[in-house]
Amino acid sequence: MTHLARAGVLLVAVLFLVFVGLRMLPTSGAMSNFGFQPQDDAGNADAWANLPVQYASPNICIECHSANYNLWANGNHKTVNCENCHGPAMEHVDTGVPENLDTSRGLCGLCHARLISRPNTFPQVDMETMGGDAECITCHNPHDPRAGMPPQVPHTLEGRSDCDTCHGSHETWVEPPPKPPHTLEGRSDCLSCHNTPELRGATLPQIPHSLEGRSVCLLCHQVGGGIKPLPADHAGRTSATCLNCHRSQ
């Protein structure tokens, strides 16, 4: 039986060496169990610390794009980092490759599509009905989305039902609230334009005539001309986009 015992001992020895012995070799990691900090943690932390930066910040963008930067910095989108729409900037800064700009409706909808989960003070619209299929930036300047829009009511509407009480043509106020800079003829519902952002979407000025046989709005409506001129801030808009905001009654 001795040869069998020898074989058994050999087998046990080999198994022990393979499955136990190799794992008993001390490693730097194992020493941390005894309170020793592994040696190369600092080196590894440096490796993490020296990874390349991709997202710059708007502070870099201003160096070349000051016009858009200033528009953006004073607009309602000033909290939206340039790179959310334009893509990470560092490569663009370093090598001059074009930025990766996204102008799609989908991108705007990521923030502004109406969702029950969003805070109700955040401006939201119904993406299905708002502006047809046109890109949002056709009408809304993404750097200053409020530009060209009628001013919002700066106070609560609670308990105030008749705008005319304060904002009418009275001359007797000691310190009168702002009077409308435009004629009130044909405009009875102030809130159709000057409302809170939540209600604005569906209530822009409507077209008072039929659209039958009229497909080119600019024939009659131009900035500073035509039968009924467009407001100055509508410069550069084409017939294709009018119906995004304005509908026929």
Partner: protein, 275 residues
């Protein structure tokens, strides 16, 4: 063919030893090579001792401000070269829906990477009246007492002096013990096709609070990208930092405080059932 028992055992043990040498030598050689390399100082380093001691980072997540646009998730993936697939995330956004009958539902389609607009409602609560709904951004909590660091059998994950838990992915053996240990689900295993910085596969990865950015005085990419200020980052040692201001002026809470992990992500907007 006749073979004696002695010869059979001889042949078998020789084969076994040969196999160990052939298949084991690469890893032995590599570990020898690596042990030599570890003693070399890795060049560059803006991290002086005093600087590390000075900072102690913290983050605020404001559930009341988050709009669920998912720009943080995208920024994180682009900044850190996290795989684009929605299974691998260093940060993600959860949508909580609480119904009138008191049930709580949580979902995070594609981790919030594509926003939530394409997922208006979940089938599970389709027919129920919704009492309220909100978003909760999630990421590594950079715990003061990180369970993930304690369980690592090879010491591959560690906490830096400024309080950030990092992973030495050269040393990680991919045993996933830390993935189990993290109560916040912040850790994941990089896939085979990983485009991670270190070109590692099948090792564990997680949020570093953009360590490469914060040591340079920048904020993490998710904070940079957030359009509504729902994420705030800063040095809790600095009385002027925005994080410190919120910590002193507002009521905050942490996730799963009963576990004693002492997270350093502080949330605003407590709601029962958010974990």
């Amino acid at each position: 063919m006749e073979i004696s028992r002695r010869d059979f055992i001889k042949l078998g043990s020789q084969g076994l030893l040969g196999g160990i040498i052939v298949f084991g030598s690469p890893s032995i050689v590599r570990s020898l090579a690596l042990s030599g390399k570890a003693s070399e100082p890795i060049p560059t380093a803006s991290l002086t001792e005093s600087e590390l001691d000075r900072h102690y980072w913290g983050m605020i997540c404001d559930n009341q401000k988050c709009i669920g646009c998912g720009r943080c998730v995208v920024a994180c993936k682009l900044e850190n070269k996290v795989p684009w697939e929605s299974e691998y995330n260093r940060t993600w956004v959860e949508r909580y829906v609480i119904t009138e009958d008191g049930q709580t539902f949580v979902d995070s389609p594609n981790a919030g990477r594509d926003g939530f607009t394409a997922y208006p409602i979940n089938k599970k609560y389709n027919n129920l009246d919704i009492r309220k709904s909100f978003f909760v951004p999630k990421l590594c909590n950079q715990c003061e007492n990180p369970p993930c660091v304690k369980v690592c059998p090879v010491g591959a994950t560690y906490k830096t002096k400024d309080g950030i838990s990092l992973i030495d992915q050269e040393r990680c053996i991919g045993c996933k013990y830390c993935v189990q240990a993290c109560p916040y689900g912040a850790r994941f295993v990089l896939p085979d096709f990983s485009k991670s910085q270190f070109r590692q596969v099948k090792v564990v990865d997680k949020c570093t609070w953009c360590y490469h950015r914060i040591v340079k005085g920048l904020v993490p990419a998710c904070v940079e990208a957030c359009p509504v200020g729902a994420r705030v980052f800063g040095d809790t040692h600095d009385p002027e930092s925005p994080v410190r201001k919120i910590l002193t002026e507002q009521r905050v809470y942490t996730l799963k405080p009963e576990l004693g992990t002492e997270p350093k992500v502080y949330y605003i907007g407590f709601e029962q059932g958010v974990h």
